[in-house]
């Protein structure tokens, strides 16, 4: 059965690029959901069965790190794996993300092969 993924990024262009890369990565996704910031992502997780989340870090309203913290405090969604996908993948910010529960990080620009490599073990 296909998986459901949630893409969280304030850029419509980047959401479309990530969506295309997911289809090219060869992973069987039945549904690709989108949210433009962390708060909207929490709303989507509250009303959908999601298998994995790909989240940007720098976003308005609620950043990727704030999203991770809020998600970790909600028992209903805290175990859904999140992979950060961002231009900012320095060790300090990735350490913060992992401390808040992120399962990995993908740097923009990325390839479908890299998406597959990071996501497959989580599904």
């Amino acid at each position: 059965m296909g998986k459901t993924v949630l893409i969280v990024d304030d850029s419509n262009t980047m959401r479309k690029i990530v969506s295309r890369a997911l289809r090219q990565a060869g992973i069987d996704f039945s549904e690709i959901l989108e949210a433009a910031d962390g708060q909207l992502a929490l709303d989507v997780l509250g009303s959908n069965e999601v298998d994995v989340v790909l989240s940007d870090i720098n976003m308005p309203n609620m950043t990727g790190l704030e999203f991770l913290k809020a998600k970790s405090e909600d028992d209903a969604i805290k175990d859904i794996p999140v992979v950060m996908i961002s231009t900012e993948t320095g060790a300090d910010i990735i350490d913060q993300a992992k401390a808040l529960g992120a399962k990995g990080a993908i740097k923009k620009p990325f390839t479908p092969d890299l998406i597959n490599e990071i996501l497959s073990p989580l599904l």
């Binding site: 850029s11 419509n12 262009t13 980047m14 479309k16 690029i17 295309r20 720098n58 961002s86 231009t87 900012e88 993948t89 320095g90 740097k107 923009k108 620009p109 990325f110 390839t111």
Partner: protein
């Protein structure tokens, strides 16, 4: 510090992995050319060990071609999608430069990209700053990556 080489390398990586448009780079222009004949620009500020503005400047037809390639659709005009796409390129380019600088113990912070469009504007560097403009060519035409910087 070879800024031009770093910019060219990161730009080619972005176009090869996420935009899928063939790209060639031209000889860097050191300064003096303020009117690039462009209609849409995305710029991002860098601060820290280097203070800089990094920009991508395109004629409308080139901006639409790049944005369309990123979105997988034809863009009829320089709209929010075009500006969003160019802003993401500026963001990824700045992120790539940040990483290469970090390897040389040069720390920089990134601002949020800003985009502008119009039929007549010039992009000038502050007095005393350095400037590198690198032309790139795709099938739709020429665009420019522009770095105005001063060392802290």
């Amino acid at each position: 510090m070879e800024f031009a080489q770093k910019i060219s390398s990161v730009t080619k990586e972005i176009f090869a992995s996420m935009i899928f448009l063939d790209l060639t780079s031209g000889e860097p222009i050191s300064q003096g050319q303020e009117d690039l004949g462009c209609h849409v620009s995305a710029m991002i500020g860098l601060s820290g060990d280097i203070n800089a503005i990094l920009g991508i400047h395109c004629p409308a037809v080139v901006g639409k071609a790049i944005g369309g390639a990123m979105l997988g659709m034809e863009l009829e005009e320089v709209d929010e999608d075009t500006k969003d796409a160019l802003g993401e390129i500026a963001n990824m380019l700045a992120g790539g430069l940040k990483e290469t600088f970090a390897a040389e113990k040069i720390d920089i912070l990134l601002a949020i990209p800003t985009t502008i469009s119009g039929n007549s504007y010039k992009v000038s560097a502050p007095t005393g700053s350095n400037r590198i403009i690198i032309p790139f060519d795709i099938e739709a035409g020429r665009f420019y990556i522009d770095l105005k910087y001063s060392l802290s």
